[in-house]
Symmetry: C2
């Protein structure tokens, strides 16, 4: 089994209201100067290892985990 | 400015319905053998660099970004 982590983020050109809310809240909590906050999903999973692992992860991410119209994803394989 | 990414995940002992839903959906989409799916938040932000950067990130994560009762976090600093 390989352990894979996938990050799904809204594309840069898509407004991120959750990130904006955090950006507004942080100065009130005493954290100054925080900028460019983006919030996405972090998914961890295990799947059978194999030569086609990257292919399967990419298919999985674009078919189910991310909405390719508004989101992009990156992933890391921990073998 | 330093770029920081923070992953907030439900603790292992907390049920993760979103992860379970993905785990159930994947075999129907042709991805067999996927196990232990966990879904959390991935937050990226920029903040002023400094000696106390780690300290500030940890305070930020435990005060605002994660609920320490049910969630744990990890972070990476990209300087």
């Amino acid at each position: 089994m390989a352990r894979v982590s996938i990050d799904v983020m809204l594309k840069d050109e898509i407004l991120d209201p959750q990130g904006q809310a955090i950006e507004r809240a942080l100065p009130e909590l005493g954290f100054a100067g925080v900028a460019d906050v983006r919030v996405g999903k972090h998914i961890e999973l295990e799947l059978p290892d194999g030569d086609d692992l990257e292919e399967r992860v990419e298919a999985m991410a674009s078919d189910l985990l991310a909405n390719p119209v508004i989101e992009s994803y990156t992933y890391q394989v921990h073998r």
